[in-house]
Symmetry: D3
Subunit: 330 residues, 6 copies
């Protein structure tokens, strides 16, 4: 997607220029993984025009393999982002109807070829929510992925403006059969899977981690996920958030350090967590290490402009090791 | 429409920010007329979101009456503009499918109310080409306009990526019954009305004005237009154009001075001509004066960034009076 | 006024470009009210040049009626704003001597016509402080306003660099006879009306709300105001402020929620409070609702660049309803 | 003066930022001379505020001695510049009333100290036109300069919005007694000294150099100037000018090469000519060399943003020597 | 290399920001070929820091294979570019001493692996001129290339500030034994190979194409090049150039169309010619087609910001086919 | 040095423009002192090119005497700065090898002339660390300074990437013989002088001021410094720091107020402390006043973009006097 954002804290109607970057849930994960040195391919469909070219170049720049990006009919999805501050929330205006990707068809993707040699397939709940076409493509992909022995992860990422809770539940329930690693936040669990944390008040920012550990555990048990990770954001204001996460295998759980974050750009925070988790699990880290790495990685994302998490393993490790003091590195 | 344009001469893939302005054929005419001091209302439909608000504010800023702008379903049409230079042409990537306006319905516009007290109705050929809905709305509007005694003008503005020549011809032929003043360029006449200038070679930039006077005359006669104006652009390069126009009432014609223009932004050049012509005819100027005013106004537009022609009557008059030397005014 | 401000946190001498916006106490109130959907006209005098045009367009953009803006002799007042951060305060360098408005004369404004159909007249203490001419115009306006049954509100807004305390007291005492709703901050009450809060230390940021309730009450009683609102800013640093307000009718008082604000741009904060108060009282809200709405509205202003408060009723209501967590709205 | 200019070719009303630079006729000459390695002091009065500091720093940056700049009452003069293109002229909106300099008094300048060790005093006709105060200061300065043996040069620089032709003539006639080197353009000669070139049509851009040689000669004879230089601009459009100059000692004259200039910024073009001329004459070059150097220097100025001519002697010499091909210097 | 360039036409001392792009002779050719759809790998050495990463990403963005880019000791070469206009030339200040590449050693590059499956090897005369190390690497590379059957092309690109003519001649003479396709301009032929065009005057812009055909022919014969291409630039000013080229196989020659170019950015013009030529010859086009394609491609480059030629085959073909009128493509 | 920094919080690879400012430890001190009204000369060597000119102009702008700046061989040192936020640290990539200054020789500086009339000589530990040449120059300078009766101050400023601790200790030990006033931070004391604070944990931000008073005292005693000042930074994050300092004469010590700083730009913070200290001691302030002034000055520096501390004595005094509330100054 093309992301269009007024500079600084301008409102849309004040802006006579928009910062133009490219992103989107799965693209963000792909770029972050590539920055961690993982061979990553991004699969999507982009329009056959110069704006589509620009989007492709934007992910290719970070080393993501773009061979499987189909080009053709439709437009590039857009979202407008107005960055909030203090009590004023950030606003997203979606404009992604009729995107080339949402109109893409089964025949656009040859999963045998795409998955050849791959170990992991990641998608988010946004993709099946875009259209029945993409829901079908997702189902085909996860079945083929399991068949070919890939690990499948999914970030639920429920967006109420894309489809109803009922529809999301129906679609995700079927897809969940093929999912190994589930990533969700507190709202996803409630909205899509109807599994609730009892003692949490999202608006107030108070989070009861035990309650969320239960939620994660229940998700593992009910849907057969090997692991479920839940990100825990408490929003003090548009400028300051606390950020942590936990992971459960249905039996045990691990909870990460919590970070007080002064926000530069929080869009893509969840995706950067997903990338950190996949990287960790791909490299055999245990639950504790994985959730710490993923949380530290996504903590850093909040200090970076744009959707993409442009940090290296070395930088994440430094933060995990306790260096969050922000002293100048010379 | 929202116009998104890389800064300066950057190509799309180089741009990490887009200049964001608002425009569109009829909006451009409205703003230009308002800058000439004419009471002008703009009729369209904009989405009910912050991007729609920004578009509305952009025309309201210049004094255009926005009371008749309907808000509701659909998106804001977008076009991406990459400014060319020298031998590299400017490129437009349209992204206006499913715009709120193209989805608007008859019931969105109360023409009795809109035309109450009005003297002139202007539209362009882009509007009926957007959808069958908007074609029907146009037809209803022009019929009502004639019924209520308004002068009707239309800038043909044929865009091949919006509809086929055949479709355009069919729709415009019906609408032409209600049109008093027709504005076209050499391609419009040929593509939509199948009336050709014999000795012109657009690519080479050689223009035979007599041939175009014949074209204008034929259009008046065949379709009953009171006047037909034809703009004459010879494109030396993306940086330099010659610009003139002629107007015919079917019997006589007048041709304007020709301007050698060093281009700042040529989008909206035709619309600014239309506004100049309407202003002149509304104020009782004769054909010679009208075509000179309109051509001088649109000459100045080429030196102004964005779609809108932000010049005053005084500035147009100064150029008409021969002061094109560009000496500093202190 | 034209506001010229270095980008970001640059000091004047570092800046090779200034952000150019337009504002001023009464203009800010007008724009904010227009954004709340209130029909609002702005009355002033602007120079008859392109800079005056730009200022006029800047308020017209937001739907403010500009019919009563007189054009003519003098210059556009300017203020230079250097944004502070942390311990470094924001600095304002005024350059508004000989502005067209300060030179305007009685005959420039036809109050019968201006007030025809109007319900409310708002001005600030800056206007009578500009010149004897404008003080006279103010007096004429408030008398006519009362005569024609308008509610009159005034934000005291004392600026020591515009006139002496003594002069301000003299002029405001006369004007106060016609004022229904008075808005002030702690310094205004002391400087202009010589009414003091006993236990407040502005520099330290400690505010005793009871003391201010007494001040407001005394103002109502002494000058016959129907209501007096007092804004309570405690400045932690140029980057962080606490913000609240109270309102009194001389008998009872209501105090708003207090907001911890991370500042984007605090200029116009008081004006946005005034607009929120006027909107509330115009719409029949009681003192408690009014002071909460006005404070929430002005809290949001601090997150918005420029003088104008560009927020909608919906956004203010959301904050009043408790959603200040700044979570992304999608 | 502070110069405020929309970026690129934006009109004032489109600009949400202004480029902020500093300049003014005499400052421009001082900076250019300093760039040529001449020890130069700039004498003026600036307000005692941060905007005044910024102006002072702007000339100090280029090595101009700022010791004699008086600080005190009044404001910094401002001019707004909208850059034209093609047929659209550049526009200047002056806002310099009540500038600290125009209010300065005799006692602000100690000419004995200022001229101590100096060889040359340069001023322009703008200074005496600002106020009777500055006219008096000029007269005092030129008398003292002559007394102390300095060469005095003056660029007539008539601005009709500053004073009437009659007033200018009166003041300049008195000052001319002390002027050695006079710089003028065709309009100055006519407006201020009532000496006309017979066969020139400024608007059309046709210039008869013989006629101007006569004008220069007459000026020398009538006012006793040792030399008079006349700059010859023919304005093809706001984007393209031809530029040349001639110099006469009343007997002989020399005319420079003519340059076809593609304009970046033409403000300060005349001042850069003055600086080139002073440099040449200070260094003993003859009339031919002087007029060629000055014209080449000012030709280069037209390619430089801002008022100041930021070129070195080496660069001017290269152009004089015939290298105007613009090939990349590596 | 990192290219640092003031915005627009600012001089270095005026700039408080530099546009930062990446480029360099061979990188430019690689990116242009990749934009033409050719599989291209770029071989160099970049420092092991974040600036090196940024440079690598800049070419990877356009699909260039970066696997063979060695990372390690040294810095990233920099060049500062000040864009000229009209009579003021563009200036380049090189700062590339001790670049990682210039310090690279034989062992950094495994040519067997790099050339495996490749058809063409291109380098420029800048590389062997950087250091004895890189001269040795070049020699090793061309020998291996010939051994493995690759076509070898070289753009002479002589830079007098890198090495003496004598040194260049010595090194290039040895390398020439392995070169199939030689690209040069008139100065290269003279400075490096001491082969002169008799009737050309570079400064004046007059070019005698016959003379250059002789030069090309002589180069083929003396050094055994299969083909020699010579680019013909006549520089009217920094803003306007004429541009053409010819190619000879020692017997016959073909000369391209000549283009009058209004310059946006001329750096990389020669490299884009090289890329066009390689593309053409790789795809079996004959000399006439090749020189026309390469000249049209490089003509377009002059309208594009930065070192890289960001045009597609389709765009070059359109210009070759005669469409240089710059009409808007919608 | 030229400092190149992506705008806002962009990472290097995201930036297509760099903010270009000039700075460096000693230059920063010189500019700050000049802003305090102290006559200051800066002694260095800059390359003889336009980038060197720009660097010279950058300090001259603030009134620093540049007569003793030598021009000649080598390049301008560069450092790339990526501004951190929250948990992401700021990063500096140095690129200063082979700078003109590091290559400068004894004969470039005539200390007799430079020190003629001077009272104070300040240098930092960076200078002798650059090269053996500059270490020798430093030694010569301090000896001459002592001989001519100047006070000598040194900010240790140890940079591990410039030289080893062992080398630094050796060089600084010799230089220390001539130093009157030593400025250090906790790391400098440990790394260079092997004097440690027992109970401090830099990463955690906990600082034991008593321990540092001991360190300062020991330094005075061991090396014979008249005074040693130690800056105490506790880094909460890249966005928030606490900042204080202490000074000891070996017997007594004074500790400043501590400031909670919201950071705009912390580079040059230490240098601004040095300038504040020198100013205070030059003007006869006692240890308490000096450390308070220096700390307040450097607190303000953290709110200012670029290396230079652009504040006046008046502003520092206001903060010292307790006004850190950041209220707008009108």
């Amino acid at each position: 997607m093309l992301r269009l954002s007024p500079e600084g804290y301008y409102r849309f109607t004040q802006a006579d220029r928009f910062e133009a970057t490219y992103g989107g849930a799965e693209a963000n994960v792909a770029v972050s993984l590539s920055n961690f040195g993982v061979d990553t391919a991004f699969v999507t469909k982009l329009p056959e025009n110069l704006i589509g070219d620009a989007a492709l170049n934007a992910v290719r720049k970070f080393g993501v393999d773009t061979r499987f990006i189909k080009r053709g009919g439709g437009r590039l999805g857009i979202y407008f982002l107005e960055k909030g501050a203090s009590q004023r929330p950030s606003l997203v205006v979606y404009d992604r109807k009729s995107s080339a990707f949402s109109l893409s068809e089964d025949s656009d993707y040859n999963w045998d070829e795409i998955f050849n040699g791959a170990k992991w397939f990641h998608f988010t709940g946004i993709t099946p929510a875009l259209s029945d076409l993409t829901a079908g493509i997702c189902l085909k992909a996860v079945r083929k992925a399991k068949e070919m022995g890939l690990t499948v992860s999914c970030d639920i990422n429920y967006r109420k403006n894309l489809c109803s809770k009922e529809k999301a539940r129906e679609v995700m329930t079927e897809l969940s059969k093929y999912i190994d690693i589930c990533i969700a936040n507190e709202e996803d669990a409630a909205d899509v899977f109807d599994i609730h944390a009892d003692n949490s008040d999202i608006q107030s920012g108070v989070i009861d981690t035990n309650a969320y550990a239960q939620v994660a555990s229940k998700l593992c048990k009910k849907y057969g996920f090997k692991m479920t990770a839940i990100t825990l954001r408490s929003s003090i204001s548009a400028s300051d958030n606390n950020w942590a996460a936990l992971i459960s295998d249905g039996v045990n759980y691990e909870i990460s350090k919590s970070y007080k974050i002064h926000i530069v750009d929080r869009v893509g925070g969840g995706d950067s967590f997903g990338a950190g988790l996949i990287y960790s699990l791909l490299n055999g880290r245990d639950m504790k290490e994985a959730v710490e790495f993923a949380t530290a990685a996504s903590c850093l994302k909040h200090s970076i402009e744009g959707d993409f998490n442009l940090v290296s393993i070395k930088e994440v490790n430094a933060l995990m090791a306790g260096d969050g003091s922000g002293r100048v590195k010379r």
